[in-house]
């Protein structure tokens, strides 16, 4: 049993602070097509982390700061957190180093996922807004943005899902909440293409012995695949609802 400041991060029965088992994801709720004005939009809740994503594009390049690429589409991402999203009120929603780094990570993730060769000299904007931050913010953003891209009808090589994992007294944990991240140990963030198992982004904080890396990586990859199953179901449900309202099932 690991105790920290009165909390039992992993109890005798092997349950975490919120009652989950070590390999259990938080509850995921999704909705596609939240806004009418954006080309694609989605909302996701992973536990208490809530994120809204909007996609605009493909459209022609408006800004001069991003140079048009003759071979591929330019993916422009912005990561922003609502000022009231964290326990301590944030001074600025975006523009600080952390948000800029996250924006770059999102850009990297989606450049590897979108079929960029289909829209040369154009731009796709992906804007994510974190409404409530309770751990796994980047992951929720990636998952929401994937749904928003599907809603926008932009061709993707595969879904990209993201998940965090940690190690607590030899037990790998999946999908870390904020409390576990701040009081516990290392945090591995992974974004992957679930069907092929290709890793698109990997980031780790703190440290653990390299011998443990494979099992934590496995757990994170498994998490990504499980999230993919959930998101895929959500997309199919959304499409069948939309289709039903215009009479697709009446053949």
């Amino acid at each position: 049993v690991l105790r920290m400041a009165g909390y039992e991060l992993l109890s005798d029965q092997g349950l975490r602070l919120d009652g989950r088992k070590p390999d259990e994801l938080r509850q995921i709720k999704t909705r596609l097509g939240v806004f009418g004005q954006a080309d694609g939009s989605a909302y996701i809740e992973q536990g208490n982390t809530k994120v809204l994503a909007a996609v605009y594009g493909p459209h022609d390049m408006r800004e001069s700061r991003l140079r048009p690429n003759a071979e591929k589409v330019v993916v422009n991402c912005q990561y922003s957190m609502a000022v009231f999203s964290t326990g301590e009120r944030k001074r600025r929603p975006r523009g600080d180093k952390k948000s800029l780094e996250m924006s770059q990570h999102l850009k990297q993730t989606f450049e590897a996922t979108i079929k960029t060769e289909l829209y040369p000299r154009s731009q796709i904007d992906i804007f994510v807004e974190v409404l409530q931050a309770d751990g796994g913010n980047y992951c929720a953003c990636v998952n929401a943005a994937t749904l928003a891209l599907v809603d926008a009808g932009i061709p993707l090589k595969d879904y990209v899902t993201a998940c965090t994992a940690s190690l607590m007294l030899g037990t790998p944990l999946v999908d870390i909440s904020n409390l576990e991240a701040t009081t516990g140990g290392p945090e591995l963030t992974l974004a992957a293409h679930p069907r092929s198992g290709q890793i698109v982004l990997m980031e780790m904080s703190h440290r653990f012995h390299i011998d443990h890396l494979p099992e934590v990586l496995d757990v994170a990859l498994e998490g990504c695949k499980n999230i993919y199953t959930i998101l895929d179901k959500a997309v199919r449900r959304h499409v069948s609802n939309r289709g039903a309202s215009i009479g697709w099932d009446k053949e």
């Binding site: 004005q37 954006a38 909302y43 809530k50 609502a82 000022v83 964290t86 929603p93 904007d125 807004e129």
Partner: protein
């Protein structure tokens, strides 16, 4: 906002509709579109509200913090507004693109709430000159579908209504500094009285008439708008003109009358709905963005 291109015929159609008191969606000049509202949905805040006025989507969070009062007013708390235009609403709001609009909205809100009869800021004082509550009202604009100012003001009023300020007990230690004890109990909280809080009513001038709650197409056709901050008793706490057109004095007076009657009704209905929601208590299922 995202580019809106209207042809001359479309503009003429809107103009004629307004003249005949029958707008594009069937409303009269004084009617407002449907509003969907839910309070208390953001967990890290003391009060919050998600309001949707047709296609305009606003999320407001109110956080209360303990800080020192201003030297000029040692016996009062403060209220501060911060507006953030999310890039979700329009790519033009990326980075600092929405800062101008956001600053405009927060200034108007600050002016409309500045009047002393609106909020009892003295209730927010804990230790005069040393500690007081500051209400940080943070507004997130998620989608713009016309009539931004009005929607924001309604969401702010609803969020303030739902705000629960923790109870602070002051215990004086002999010879030492008074100690503040913040209650952890979520059920022991004081509320803020929004009985006098205003609501903004913007009237866009199209042709010779003013319309309330304009759609983006109507806003495109209007030369100028007048923004009135109206309290439930029908008092005006702020007036602002937006846009490049000009008004005659008589038009402004007529618009003020129209705005006051609409504002009083909106305030009344808003308070009614907030009380209805409050009465549902624990049985209320929180939906947020999921529906």
């Amino acid at each position: 906002m995202t580019e809106l291109l209207l042809s001359e015929s479309e503009k003429t159609f809107i103009l004629h509709g307004v003249q005949q008191n029958f707008r594009g969606d069937g409303r009269t000049r004084s009617e407002i579109r449907p509003i969907v509202m839910e309070t208390d949905i953001v967990s890290h805040t003391n009060g919050s509200c998600h309001l949707r006025l047709a296609n305009t989507d606003i999320l407001v969070g109110v956080k209360t913090e303990l800080e020192t009062p201003l030297p000029a007013h040692p016996d009062r708390g403060r209220i501060e507004f911060f507006v953030d235009c999310s890039a979700n609403a329009s790519p033009a709001f990326e980075g600092r693109g929405g800062d101008n609009l956001a600053a405009d909205i927060s200034r108007v809100l600050a002016r409309s709430y500045a009047s002393p009869e609106i909020l009892n800021l003295k209730e927010l004082c804990i230790l005069p000159g040393k500690t007081c509550w500051i209400l940080y009202v943070d507004i997130l604009v998620l989608e713009v579908g016309g009539n931004l100012y009005d929607a924001v003001s309604m969401a702010v009023k609803a969020a303030l209504f739902s705000t629960k300020v923790p109870v602070v007990t002051v215990s004086t230690v002999d010879g030492g500094e008074p100690e503040l004890d913040l209650s952890d109990d979520p059920h022991k909280a004081t509320r803020i009285s929004v009985q006098n809080a205003p609501v903004l009513v913007s009237l866009s001038r199209i042709g010779n008439y003013c319309v309330v709650d304009s759609t983006p197409e109507e806003e495109n056709c209007s030369s100028a708008s007048l923004l009135f901050s109206v309290t439930p008793k029908g008092m005006l706490t702020a007036v602002k003109k937006i846009g490049g057109g000009s008004f005659q004095q008589t038009s402004i007076q007529a618009a003020a009358k129209q705005a006051v009657s609409i504002g009083v009704e909106v305030n009344d209905k808003l308070l009614q709905k907030l009380q209805q929601e409050e009465e549902m208590g624990r049985k209320r299922e929180k939906i947020g963005f999921l529906l």
